[in-house]
């Protein structure tokens, strides 16, 4: 640029941030100090620089004093960098000639003594850097107008429907043979006691019927490349061994198949055939053949009953997996949760006693499509007394510190169902706290108490079959302290239902890696901001919704799904995405073609190509580049520099901070 040394005019603006900064830093002294620094044309301070009048100050100075650099000494750039960049633009200055100096989070908030001195050093460094800032242009890239939704549970379904209704193309990928997720296994939902399948299956059918949704079940995403607005996902379509286009869902193959396996849908309590749809209302209503239990595969072509009986000739044992690539602008990850296996908590007897079951297993017993046709029966007997134990593995430092949110409510739901189905049954709730926070939840709690459910406040220490009295013979005994009375209590029951913790999926780590997401400490996929950005992630263009982000009930899951849809639609409707200007750039005259940058970059931004030259040189795909600077450090000749963070700029800062010429 054609600026002479004396043409640089820097405006320094010190924010009081109320008393956040001014309470610890002497802003007047700081301003006076800044005024004396080289190339500083004006230094001011104001109560709230981010406010309208504060912004107006800057704009006015740019216009009237001809400022060509702005330094704002205030809070973290993560708060208001966009704000002040806009101010610069409005004033006619390139937004990259702004430098935010953090004297709040990094100064006034962490020091009592010496804050002013430190602020002076920081501002001095900021001014030194600002001197070398150059105008940069950001680019826009178009956004592919399609969305990939990974996971076909209620979250994925709702998100897909909303995006599709807005007229956008959706690819919905689901690992299981049918969409629906865990909600298909649930009998009734709290607090309204709606039948889960009744509210879910119309949505599932809508997904199937929607012209904008391309449904890929029995499929998994195996690779993702690209960047926000331009993702390419590779999807592996596992072979069903049934031709979807020919199958009518008549079900005769399942009827005739002689080979059985444990039904995953029924949590192992029931059986399915080797060729199966997981449940009657499956979408698509096309079975899959499980090669691990199908005799045709196990014994080299034997059986083949399904092949014989299918009138449409839809059985195709020669199917192979197919890889499909899709191009989308945004991805919604809605991969759901797993329920913790309570076998690990041996004292509750889950692996010892068949009549100690998990909540999901109980849902299957209650449900009409379940292994017992909706009759609550264990060991051939209807239980007359049932204990429901809360917080199994939740709120427990040894397993999961968090609360799983839904268990108190579904435990109440179970109480109702038991009372309804079994005449005169006793239900005991073993709880620590009753968490009924949502709409209609506390009312539901009252209703259940009114139905004669016994609430015992005490975390059970044991479920045992060792009887210590006549009435305990042949029963399971739940041992706890009745904390409200302060005495040990032994309650004999016929059945125990455990409320295990909701956990992140077993492969959450792999999913995180695949989509370049992070996991929170609890194992779930992490949102970008706990309060203000609940579905966005650190990876632009990727969103996490539903239980994949953390335990929650159906209303909250749907809310997040719709939020995810809104986010992706906002992205697509904008039509283009602004790429940040602070990207790496290669000085080709210095590049030796060593390839170290290509090796070290995790975003695959640099590529080497010869293009007719003697030696290959690196070039950076600015859309992929995040400006992290690793390639610049790795480059042995210094050919790579990062725009907006040039060597000159950084060294100037360091020199000013240390007082030592670098």
């Amino acid at each position: 640029m054609a600026e002479g040394k004396n043409d640089v005019k820097i405006g320094v603006y010190v924010c009081h941030c109320g008393s956040n900064i001014a309470g610890t830093v002497d802003v007047e002294e700081l301003t006076a100090f800044a005024q004396e620094l080289g190339s500083v044309a004006v230094a001011r301070n104001y109560k709230f620089m981010c406010s309208e009048p504060g912004q107006a100050l800057i704009k006015q100075d740019i216009e009237e004093l001809g400022l060509n650099r702005v330094v704002v000494a205030a809070c973290s750039p993560r708060m208001h960098e966009p704000t002040f960049r806009r101010v610069c633009e409005q004033g006619g200055l390139n937004p990259y000639q702004l430098h935010i100096c953090n004297i709040r989070e990094q100064c006034s908030w962490v020091h009592k003594d010496g804050a002013t001195e430190k602020a002076k050093a920081l501002v001095s460094a900021a001014v030194s850097r600002a001197y070398y800032l150059e105008p940069l242009e950001s680019r826009e890239v178009p956004v592919a107008p399609a969305v990939l939704v990974v996971g076909g549970g209620i979250a994925g379904i709702q998100a897909a429907l909303k995006v599709a209704d807005a007229g956008r193309k959706v690819y919905l990928v689901e690992r299981e043979p049918s969409i629906g997720g865990h909600m298909t296994q649930i009998d009734k939902t709290f607090p309204t006691l709606d039948c889960s399948a009744c509210i879910l299956t119309p949505r599932m059918a809508a997904v199937k019927a929607h012209p904008n949704i391309e449904l890929m079940t029995y499929s998994e995403v195996v690779g993702v490349q690209g960047y926000v607005g331009n993702f390419r996902a590779t999807i592996r379509r596992k072979p069903r061994y049934v031709d979807e286009s020919l199958c009518t869902g008549c079900g005769i193959c399942q009827e005739k198949c002689p080979w059985k396996a444990e039904s995953e849908f029924d949590c192992g309590l029931g059986q399915r055939k080797a060729i199966y749809t997981p449940f009657p209302q499956a979408v698509p209503n096309v079975p899959v053949i499980d090669p691990e239990h199908c005799v045709y595969f196990l014994r080299d072509g034997k059986c083949g009953a399904c092949l014989k009986f299918c009138e449409r000739g839809a059985i195709d044992f020669n199917q192979t997996e197919k890889m499909v690539d899709v191009e989308v602008g945004a991805i919604i990850v809605a991969t759901g949760y797993d329920l913790m296996d309570p076998s690990e908590i041996g004292r509750l007897g889950y692996s010892r006693f068949p009549n100690v079951i998990t909540s999901l297993e109980f849902e299957r017993l209650c449900n009409a499509t379940g292994p017992t046709g909706g009759h609550i029966v264990v060991n051939g007997q209807e239980p007359k007394s049932v204990a429901i134990i809360h917080c199994v593995g939740s709120r427990d430092r040894k397993y999961h510190e968090y609360c799983s949110r839904v268990c108190c409510m579904y435990a109440l739901k179970f109480a109702h169902l038991i009372k309804e189905k079994i005449e005169g049954a006793s239900v005991y709730q073993f709880y620590i706290d009753m968490r009924c926070y949502g709409k209609g939840f506390e009312e539901f709690y009252q209703r259940e108490a009114g139905e004669g459910v016994t609430f015992i406040r005490g975390k059970p220490s044991q479920v045992t079959d060792f009887a210590m009295s006549e009435e305990e013979q042949g029963k399971l005994v739940v041992v706890c302290e009745n904390t409200l009375v302060g005495r040990t209590l032994r309650v004999p029951v016929d059945m125990v239902i455990l409320c295990p913790a909701m956990e992140a999926r077993a492969d959450a780590r792999d999913v995180a890696r695949l989509f370049n997401l992070t996991q929170s400490a609890d194992g779930f996929l992490q949102e970008r901001h706990a309060k203000l950005e609940p579905v966005a992630t650190a990876n632009d263009g990727m969103f996490v919704v539903g239980c994949a982000q953390g335990p929650k009930d159906i209303p909250d899951t749907v809310a997040q799904a719709l939020a995810g849809a809104a986010e992706t639609l906002a992205l697509i409707d904008r039509g283009s995405v602004e790429l940040q200007a602070a990207t790496a750039t290669v000085d080709e005259t210095l590049c030796q073609g060593c390839g170290r940058c290509e090796e070290i970059c995790v975003f695959h931004a640099p590529t080497l190509s010869s293009d007719g030259r003697l030696i290959p040189v690196s070039s950076i795909n600015e859309a992929l580049c995040k400006g992290c600077g690793v390639c610049a450090v790795a480059c042995p000749t210094g050919a790579i520099s990062i725009r907006h963070f040039t060597r000159q700029q950084i060294l100037a800062e360091l020199e000013a901070l240390s007082g030592v010429p670098v």
Binding site: I345, G346, R347, T464, D465, F466, M468
Partner: protein, 303 residues
């Protein structure tokens, strides 16, 4: 297999039979135990009542001695084991405690650096010797003998040691099964016997012991992994019966005693005559009596 051995205070007195049988069976299995020189009392359950520092330093001194002897330390007393591993753990995780403990240890001319490796007898038998070796050395399988495996409560020990499940351990069950016994599925296998409450607060101690004995049902005997548990379950059967209006007469053995029986070692070598509740009924059941009194089997080391 060589170890430094920590006998604990009950070994020479109230649980002499535990000690005797331990020495005999370990010799038989080829495990070399060298008594830790100049060992001191671990503090049992009493040190914590008097001084926190002593409750860590007393066992720590033994660990320091084992370090000096450059040997792994084995103990056959669960209470001692709990105290020792507690000392390992507490000095490991708390620098201030470690420092103060070493200040105390300095009075005795040793220091504890955290290197000593502590083993429980069961761990050594099941994991170092190995159950297949134990099976080989059995000469009188305990066919049909219904045995209750009573691990005892010192669950803290497994918490830190991780060689078996804390809530539902089965190394002892497996050992007894290897000896040919029919192992009873005992619901109170890790429930506390009351420790020294049998002496200091008889009413509570007797009740706890009574529960344990009652839960054994009609088993032929109870075998314990701790000498103090053995002492409790043996010595207070009358009082325990009193709390329940019933009468108990069930033999209680230490784990190495039952092992010795299965190995065919002589009664005297196993201290079986010292068990408070006579163990004769067992002999009848496994017809060991004859072979044992004729001194058939040898107790003097591996073949």
């Amino acid at each position: 297999m060589k170890y430094a051995y920590y006998p604990g205070c009950s070994a020479s007195g109230t649980s002499k039979e535990a000690e005797e049988s331990l020495q005999a069976t370990m010799r038989y299995l080829g495990v070399e135990l060298t008594e830790l020189e100049d060992w001191n009392c671990c503090g049992a359950a009493m040190a914590t009542g008097v001084s926190y520092l002593l409750s860590v330093a007393l066992p720590a001194r033994n660990l320091a001695l084992a370090e000096r002897a450059e040997s792994d330390l084995v103990t056959g007393c669960s209470r001692c084991y709990l105290n020792l591993i507690r000392a390992v753990h507490y000095t490991q995780h708390n620098a201030s405690v470690r420092e103060k403990v070493n200040t105390l240890l300095a009075e005795t001319g040793v220091q504890y650096s955290g290197k000593a490796r502590l083993r429980h007898l069961l761990d050594v038998i099941v994991n170092d010797v190995g159950l297949d070796v134990v099976a080989e050395r059995v000469t009188r399988p305990l066919d049909g003998l219904r045995i209750v495996p009573y691990y005892g409560c010192c669950q803290g020990m497994w918490t830190y040691a991780q060689f078996d499940s804390v809530e539902d351990p089965h190394c002892f069950d497996q050992l007894l099964a290897t000896l040919g016994a029919q192992v009873v599925d005992y619901p109170l296998k890790t429930a506390c016997c009351g420790g020294t409450l049998s002496m200091s607060k008889r009413s509570v101690g007797a009740k706890l012991i009574g529960d344990l004995l009652a839960a054994a049902g009609d088993a032929d005997c109870i075998v314990t992994a701790c000498p103090l548990c053995m002492f409790n379950l043996n010595s207070f059967q009358k009082e325990a019966g009193g709390t329940r209006g019933t009468h108990f007469n069930i033999p209680v053995l230490f784990l190495t005693q039952i092992m010795g029986l299965a190995f065919g070692l002589p009664e005297k070598a196993l201290g079986l005559q010292r068990n408070a509740v006579p163990v004769d009924s067992l002999y009848r059941k496994i017809a060991v009596g004859a072979a044992v009194s004729s001194g058939e089997a040898s107790a003097s080391g591996p073949r």
